[in-house]
């Protein structure tokens, strides 16, 4: 009971501290903006730890954070191998192929107004469908290994990136296009000097959405069959053995991978579209 009481006290303390910072004079500073969520996150972890210990929650329901951390530290080789299999081979390969294909398709579609008007609604429609459901089919076609996972990822990222790129390539004003006409610019000159740069914020929007989709696709596809390796495989196998600390360890890896992947794409975006109002901040 002591631990539970301590958890409650800690929660109150953390909240009070954040309240002081958020209502304080330096609330808008960088440090405060970083500190408040970090304090919140740390308090949540501490309260989780104390409650699990205090209430003696069984491992098969919720392992304590310390236990998960120990599992992560103790299983680094397994986690690394799973990461390579699912993220690098499955998700990343599929992401690169899918995004490249989508952008090239968008460039082709953009050449014809008729095609564009047909592809945009269809692409938007397909992007809202549960494409991850194609996993069993693609596992059947491409086998259990990472190739089928990459194929699922390709199917998942293709349409969001296509739709965003097609929309982005339209994102020039009549005046900008008229200007290019007065220079007698060729199609590809106009494309590379005007339309592609103007489309970049849209393209990156699609690329950012696709980072999360890629990881989701690669993991869920492993639920339909995989070699005895991979994050999705490990999650479903460990769930079956009720070793939830391992499940959580994989989720920690997945969360880190997802955040870092997204962050990297966002960094590239910042470098490429520094001129866009949303990036000038």
């Amino acid at each position: 009971m002591m631990l539970v009481a301590l958890a409650l006290v800690l929660w109150g303390l953390g909240w009070w501290l954040n309240l002081r910072i958020a209502e304080g004079p330096h609330a808008q500073s960088r440090a405060a903006r970083l500190a408040v969520p970090l304090i919140f996150g740390a308090v949540v972890l501490a309260v989780w730890e104390l409650l699990v210990r205090g209430l003696q929650v069984p491992l098969v329901i919720l392992p304590a954070p310390s236990l998960i951390a120990a599992r992560v530290a103790g299983s680094l080789p397994i986690l690394w191998a799973d990461f390579l299999q699912t993220f690098v081979k499955g998700a990343l390969t599929g992401y690169v192929i899918g995004c490249t294909a989508a952008i090239l398709t968008a460039v082709l579609v953009d050449r014809s107004d008729f095609l564009r008007r047909g592809v945009l609604p269809v692409g938007n429609f397909v992007a809202a469908l549960p494409i991850v459901g194609t996993a069993p089919i693609l596992v059947m076609w491409f086998g259990f290994d990472w190739q089928s996972k990459a194929a699922v990822v390709v199917a998942m990222v293709f349409f969001p990136v296509l739709v965003n790129t097609v929309a982005g390539l339209r994102e020039t004003t009549a005046m900008q296009r008229d200007l290019m006409r007065t220079y007698a610019a060729s199609y590809w000159q106009e494309f590379f000097k005007l339309r592609l740069p103007a489309a970049m914020p849209f393209i990156f929007n699609g690329l950012k959405i696709a980072t999360t989709l890629a990881l989701v696709g690669a993991i869920v596809a492993e639920f339909f069959g995989s070699p005895t390796l991979g994050m999705g495989f490990r999650i479903s196998a460990s769930v079956g053995q009720l070793s939830l600390d391992m499940v959580w360890a994989e989720i920690v890896v997945a969360a880190l991978a997802g955040t870092v992947f997204y962050g990297l794409v966002a960094l590239v975006e910042k470098a490429v579209t520094f001129w866009h109002p949303s990036q000038r901040g």
Partner: protein, 304 residues
């Protein structure tokens, strides 16, 4: 309206591509079957055929092409086969039958809707809290944004099993997954919407000395509607995926996810495809329905 023809052409092209793809995908299987049935095929032995590229086989056995669209267990079923299976398992079966897709669809849909309602409700509440309270904004909002970059669906198998071990089964575990998958997009979209009124509009309310609650009801909530509907559409699609994935780990016997899994166990490709299309139709119908409600609400509010 002027995009009807282009859309039809694109859809027709996709269907055409699908039929064309079914030929090379299925030709090996068709020729094997034909050989067993004693028909003439070129080359005659299976071992020789494995050496050849599929296109060679198609060219050498043009008579086999119609059969590639009519196999019982094709690698890629033709569109009409999927359509026939869809028709057969919806209109052709009593809806209480275990073979009815309507039954399986309803199992998945009910979990989706329950989870979506919970996730959306909680999401809107948290968003209001975040907009009204600075400390909640600073503490929670960064995590809500980070959550968008994480494949939180990976939690699904664990949730099913943990809830099962504490005695919760059936619709609830799937609804929990649907709920948290729709929760975060709604929080992020709704916060954006509640913050969408510009400084001038907020200043106007300040000159009226309006309370925070009045500001919420009279300005922020109405202004957030377009953002809310945009995130609801993302949320419902995520909810449906959640419910389907929630049916995988325990080997559930009912639901569209269960149909996908069973189909992949037994190599029933037509069944997989029809379950996939049922899920797609469901998703499209749900998103379409939300779009319809959005139009009605926004028109009622006079903004669209």
């Amino acid at each position: 309206m002027k995009s009807v023809l282009p859309v039809l052409v694109v859809v027709a092209a996709l269907i055409g591509l699908w039929y064309a793809a079914a030929v090379p995908m299925n030709v090996r299987g068709v020729l094997d079957e034909a050989e067993r049935a004693g028909a003439e095929v070129v080359p005659a032995s299976g071992a020789e055929r494995r050496e050849r590229a599929v296109w060679t086989l198609v060219v050498r056995n043009p008579g086999a092409i119609p059969a590639t669209w009519a196999q019982e267990r094709p690698r890629l079923p033709a569109p009409h086969q999927v359509a026939a299976e869809l028709w057969d398992t919806t209109a052709g079966k009593s809806i209480t039958s275990k073979r009815s897709l309507v039954y399986h669809g309803w199992v998945t849909l009910s979990a989706t809707l329950l989870g979506f309602a919970i996730g959306t409700g909680l999401g809107i509440l948290l968003a209001v809290g975040i907009v009204q309270s600075k400390v909640m904004d600073m503490s929670v909002m960064p995590w809500a944004i980070v959550s968008q970059t994480i494949p939180i669906i990976a939690l699904a198998p664990m949730i099913i099993v943990v809830l099962y071990s504490v005695g919760v089964q059936g619709i609830i575990p799937k609804a929990v997954i649907s709920a948290y998958l729709s929760f975060f997009p709604v929080v992020v979209g709704m916060v954006k919407g509640l913050r969408s009124p510009d400084a001038m509009q907020l200043d106007l309310l300040r000159t009226y000395n309006a309370s925070a609650a009045q500001g919420l009801w009279k300005l922020r909530l109405p202004a957030s509607m377009p953002y809310l509907f945009a995130s609801l559409k993302i949320g419902i699609a995520a909810s449906l995926v959640g419910a389907i994935v929630g049916e995988l780990p325990t080997g559930a016997v009912a639901g569209l996810g269960a149909r996908l899994l069973a189909g992949s166990y037994y190599g029933q490709t037509v069944q997989i495809w029809s379950a996939l299309f049922a899920a797609a139709i469901l998703a499209a119908a749900l998103v379409g329905l939300l779009g319809l409600i959005e139009r009605l609400v926004l028109r009622r509010m006079g903004v669209a």
